[in-house]
Amino acid sequence: MVAGPAGQLDYMKAKAAEWAAETGATVRVDEIPFGELNDKVLAALSTDTFIADIINIGSNLGGDLMGGGFMAAAPDWAQQRADWEGILPIFRSNQLSFGGVAYGMPWDGDVLMYYWRADAFEEYADEYEAATGQALGPAQSWSEYASIAKFFTENAWSDQEEGYGLVELPMRNNQGWNGFMTRAAGYAKAPNDPGFFFDPETMEPRINNPGFVRALEDWGAVIEYGPPGMLNFGWIENALSFVGGIAAQDIQWGDIGPMSKSPDSVVEGAVGYGPAPGADEYWDPVAGAWASGDGPNQAPFLGFGGWFNLVPATSNHLAAAFDLASFLGSPAVLAEAAVTAGTGVNPGTAATLDPALWVSAGWPEDEAKAYTDAIRASLDHPNAVFDMRLPGFPEYKDALELAVSEALSGQASAQDALDEAAETWNEITDRLGRDEQLRIYREALGLTG
């Protein structure tokens, strides 16, 4: 079995050892560094080279792996053991299945969320209101988020050695894609249109439309309110900054909840949980104009889409592999993993989203409810955007992250950088076959015909 980051690898090794002890089988869990995981898995499978009987991978490689015909379909008995009906529909269809066929076994459910320092918000409420004329509460929009970030960096925490208004995920070849898309979704995902990355009629990229461009410009304007060097921040720097107490707001996956309870955290019990903010206006690509609704346009981004386990069709141990994968995806294992910091498992099933589970793990009742409600609200949101999982995803991601990095570091304007990325996306789409890519994209959006 091969898996990604060290934290979840250790947990997975322990669970795999339990399974081996029960069954008498032998299992070895090898790590492939996160940055190389997609490349190595794709290269091995494409050249018919054995890599593992189980591959623990992020869902946005699903298009290449399941769509590429490399994976074995999950047998019914494995689905039953993994409590298939207990998995949220958005993950059942967008993560674990492809073309209506179930391949994957569950592990992780991912959505990027908004965290804030509830204690600091309470402490500085009056000061913030005096300074801005607004009440200080969790940001509903990116403009409120920016205002709060500015206040903490320049006023409230300006006398602290380290105190910043926000921490995000902008690093290229790391989580830059997820950091940007989380913000862009609010600006560019119109509630009346299922498409986001592409026009679902033509497969023309949308990443250089006014919505994405403004999202990038606005992001560039708030980077200065983050810790020094934040352009080079990936998952770990982001998470440690927030649970280390130096950032007032954070955009991250659900891991922050359990991490805030870890011994290294200085923010236990002081964290607020909510869906990512929305944009005051969104770009309506159908009307070709900015539009607004009753409130900010929210579009939670299911970035990365969660880790899950796949079994290559060429495995010589198909039954054993699915036995282990379904054991790892069983409700009991996922429940334990979800409430344990560092496992990489975020709630994605009904059982892991039950506040009672978190209370039994020692969380205060109100916090357990706030945390699970925030994740639920994101996952169930009608305007939620599931991450791209087209064949060629690594290429699309590279091109976009390059553009974002160039714009954020001042080497190009947002428009120029995204125009160039859109051109590259078109080249990739044409090379991979526009019609086939369009078909897969439409299928992912639930469009027929």
Partner: protein, 274 residues
Amino acid sequence: MLALSIFPLVFSLGLTFTNVNLFRRVPLQFIGLDNWARIFTDEALLETLINTIIFVGGGVAIQYVFGLALAVALNRGLREQRLMRILFLLPMMVSPIAVGFIIGRMVFSEGFGPINDLLEAVGLPAVAWVTSPGMAKVTIILVDTWQWTPLMMLLMLVGLQGIPGEPIQAARVDGASEWQIFRHIVFPLLLPVSITAILIRALEAFKIIDIIRVVTGGGPGRATESVTAYVYNVGAKQGDLAYAASAAYVLLFVVIGVSFLALYISRRVQERYA
């Protein structure tokens, strides 16, 4: 020799005339010089080539100067010489990935790294070590220098210990200063070793990728992406082995050119000091 060296070269050269793509199961086709023509319009390749030349030129020059200085100091009988030698060699024994993380990501961290703390403690502004396109290049050079100066020092030390003592003693008797001895005797005698050391290090430095991937990921933008990193992205991420091989050949030609240039300079310098 044929199997280990020539065959892979010929095979990869053959690839450059095809449409081979690791991830796209398209029929193998001979596409002539298409990949080679693409090189001339590939701005990304040019940018990464310039970055690579900056890393090699800057890094190897600094490593040579520091390595030579350390070797001279050690050769003169620095106290605790054996311990110092071991200490100086330690960076070379650490994996580049670990060096990238410890030095590049931690020491040069703009938020919690000790270097910025030090600068601020003496009243200087913090430096955007990895987020400014220019400084990010400098940081890559510094991290590479931290790791590979010991190799330069080792080679120079071997060179220094191979220099006969008589000419130096004769010069001392004639009243030459230490600087004059170094400038007119030691340095010229060290030139063959110096050129070899610079060449060895440069050939290795042209292939830089590991430190970059850990420290900056090639960013900001493409500011620190090397040709090898670019070739890796094209070949491993996009699966375009044919074009990746063509781009790799560009690097090979540059390295061959630099090698000939170094040998030419070496001959000229040695003629001058002969």
